[in-house]
């Protein structure tokens, strides 16, 4: 606590403060300091000495303007409420289509597609154990599959978030579907939600398929390609979520995400691209933990730093380039298997932090996510949680409603300084690509994960129902599972066999050979060749296999 005179133009401030401190000390003589997850010490009280209005214009300004702290759009959630993006995908394409239509019928316009884990690993259905097919997401391998996913749905009237890691086969399949339906690519909008290969390597995620140098090239090829041919598409979503899920503190997750975005921007610039063109298409994706104020401060600080980086490091002038557009998902790590209905309360608090943090799009977790793949019942509660917060609690009525809180402004500043120091560390290590290649970032995150776990283990960090307030008989309802039947999976495998039989295999062969040649070349666009191969009829697994062979398989970079 500060001991100097405050020097504030507030008569009686210093004396009142001294009296309060004495009284506080009497009541809590041996209080231990409190720290948030990022390691910032939290005082019991904040006052104008921590943030005064004199700094208003420099630190806060107005929404959509200047430091961007208060939000990236002038009207924020009043003008346009955040989009409710629920991740869906289960079973076979027909299952996905059914669920998608239900969402669209209830007024949704932003949808997402979650493929099966086999797709994430870059494999076709006939390359994995059928037991695992369609248990976590939809099996999508071919143009036929993608067509079936969007049967009777106008793909040009949707904003589609593709959970589509590099080399972006799902977008290629969607482009092929558009061709089939005579829809110009320029009318498609959406986001390549899992384009951030660096985050996948950092978090040892299942998503990485191709060795680091090849991944680096394909991402930039993809950005170049979409900027030119699919201008409504956001090719880059820089993901802090994986890192925070893997154990990064909120400040670390924000810092490393910004470092990753800087790395991608630098790679684009090295390719001769113009920051004013590609930066407006960058989006971000974060985790929202239950550390309420810390999360709000994380988002506000991140927004401010990004605006500064965009202007100062990259000299971008396009005001849209400085907009820190982000999607956020409530953190599954905070959810507990014990007394699972408590998770609804957790998700509510997390979602509120994200909304006050100024997000553009929100996914709320289903309470049963920690028990199994979410059931539809639980997913509906998650959606309603958002509706309640927006339309009953009216959280979107005021822009940045906690702005000006002495605590939050101070915390935002402290978080910003911490993030900046972490960014400097990565810069010193030669940038994010290098810092990940050498394992520096992974080591830091691993240590944070262990530190947090130790706090849970020794009871310093309460987890209700786990290390406190436990129930002997924890008999809350458990989710009931819905997995695709073996018959359904067999039918899907049969359709893949039929697909391979029915296509022009000579054309596929030629296209895959071209892809091979382009992957070996120095400077041809790999993604363009991949899209061509897909249109010619190649499957997801086939194009990934070619790139794996030519550019190296993605392997974990670090072990404990």
């Amino acid at each position: 606590m500060r001991r100097q005179p405050s020097q504030l133009p507030l008569p009686g401030f210093d004396q009142a403060r001294a009296e309060w401190r004495r009284a506080y000390g009497e009541q809590l003589p041996e209080e231990r300091p409190i720290f948030n997850r990022s390691g910032i010490e939290i005082a019991p009280l904040y006052t104008p000495e921590h943030f005064s209005d004199e700094r208003y214009m420099d630190a806060l300004g107005f929404p959509g303007h200047g430091p961007m702290t208060r939000g990236i759009y002038p009207s924020m959630h009043r003008g346009r409420a955040w989009s409710q993006r629920q991740l869906i995908g289960l079973g076979v394409p027909e299952d996905y289509n059914r669920r998608l239509k239900r969402i669209l019928a209830s007024g949704g316009t932003a949808v997402s597609l979650i493929p099966c884990n086999s797709v994430y690993r870059g494999l076709d259905a006939d390359q994995v154990d059928p037991l695992l097919l369609g248990t976590c997401g939809a099996v999508v391998n071919t143009v036929d599959d993608m067509d079936a996913c969007f049967a009777d749905v106008a793909v040009d009237e949707l904003s589609t978030a593709m959970n589509d890691p590099l080399p972006f086969t799902l977008l290629a399949l969607l482009l092929a579907v558009s061709d089939r339906r005579g829809i110009p690519w320029t009318k498609l909008t959406g986001t390549s939600n899992q384009s951030d290969y660096i985050s996948h390597f950092v978090a040892n995620h299942m998503f990485f398929r191709i060795a680091l140098p090849g991944s680096r090239r394909i991402l930039i090829d993809h950005i170049e390609f979409t900027n030119r041919h699919v201008p409504g598409w956001n090719p880059v979503s820089v993901v802090g979520q994986h890192m925070q899920q893997a154990g990064a503190t909120p400040a670390e997750a924000m810092a490393f995400t910004l470092c990753t975005a800087v790395q991608y921007a630098e790679d684009c610039i090295a390719r001769g691209m113009d920051p004013d063109t590609f930066l407006p298409r960058f989006t971000f994706f974060f985790d929202i933990s239950i550390s309420f104020f810390e999360e709000i401060a994380k988002f506000r600080a991140g927004r401010r730093i990004w605006a500064r980086i965009v202007r100062q490091r990259f000299g971008a002038r396009n005001p849209r380039a400085a907009r820190f557009k982000f999607h956020a998902q409530t953190s599954g790590v905070d959810l507990t298997r014990q007394q699972p209905y408590n998770n609804i309360a957790r998700v509510t608090a997390q979602a509120m932090a994200g909304i006050f943090g100024g997000l553009q799009s929100l996914h709320t977790d289903a309470y049963d996510e920690v028990l199994s793949v979410p059931t539809e019942h639980a997913a509906r509660i998650a959606v309603c949680t958002q509706n309640i917060l927006r339309e009953e609690a009216q959280l979107g009525d005021v822009i940045d409603p906690l702005g000006g809180s002495y605590y939050l402004e101070h915390l935002t500043n402290e978080t910003e300084a911490l993030i900046e120091s972490l960014i400097a560390k990565v810069d010193d290590a030669g940038g994010m690509y290098r810092a990940v290649e050498t394992g520096l970032v992974q080591t830091m995150i691993g240590e944070s994960a262990m530190r947090f776990q130790a706090r849970v283990d020794n009871g310093e960090q309460t987890v209700v129902g786990v290390n406190k307030y436990r129930l002997e008989e924890d008999s809350d309802a458990r989710a009931s599972l819905k997995r695709p039947s073996p018959e359904k999976i067999e039918a899907q495998l049969e359709s893949l066999r039929q697909y391979k039989k029915g296509r022009d295999s000579a054309a596929v062969q030629r296209a895959l050979e071209t892809l091979t040649r382009v992957a070996d070349s120095e400077n041809e666009n790999v993604y363009a060749a991949l899209v061509e191969a897909t249109i010619a009829g190649a499957t997801h697994g086939e194009v990934v296999a070619v790139l794996r062979r030519e550019m190296g398989d993605g392997e974990p970079l670090i072990v404990p």
């Binding site: 299942m206 458990r478 009931s480």
Partner: protein
């Protein structure tokens, strides 16, 4: 001098199937290391046969599998393969997200213990140590 009693337990910590999230397996590996065990740690996405081979070559006392998606569905195949390789006495435990309905089936298939999110360090370490000790004693007294 009998040293086998002091020989640290050897545990194989791995992931099978398709998912790669390794926060849980890394934390558990560190728990076991800090409890004095030797942890053979593998990359994710192991094949069943590869795990059997590693467990045998490394002469481990227990296999721990982390599963956060649905990869635990492959565990009955792992147990079957272990039995076929004459490693049926090797305890297998799993930790992660395992739905109740699957847990019963896994236990029936021979999985010795399912750890759910929120399992404490002590619980994990003591269970692993007890199962590993049991497996060692069994191997020691096994006749042929």
């Amino acid at each position: 001098m009998s040293t086998s009693a002091q020989r640290p337990y050897r545990v194989l910590v791995s992931k099978i199937g398709l998912d790669g999230h390794d926060r849980g397996s890394r934390i558990v590996a560190a728990y076991l290391r800090d409890a004095g065990m030797e942890v053979i740690y593998t990359a994710p996405w192991q094949e069943v046969q590869a795990l059997v081979r590693m467990a045998s070559d490394e002469d481990v006392d227990l296999i721990g599998i982390s599963s956060l998606a649905t990869d635990h569905l492959l565990l009955p195949k792992l147990l079957e393969a272990l039995r076929a390789a004459d490693l049926g006495d090797l305890p297998v435990v799993v930790g992660g997200i395992v739905p109740d309905e699957d847990e019963q089936a896994l236990i029936e298939a021979g999985v010795r213990r399912v750890f759910h999110p929120g399992s404490s360090r002590d619980e994990i370490v003591s269970t692993v140590a007890a199962l590993a000790a049991e497996a060692r004693i069994q191997r020691k007294t096994e006749s042929f």
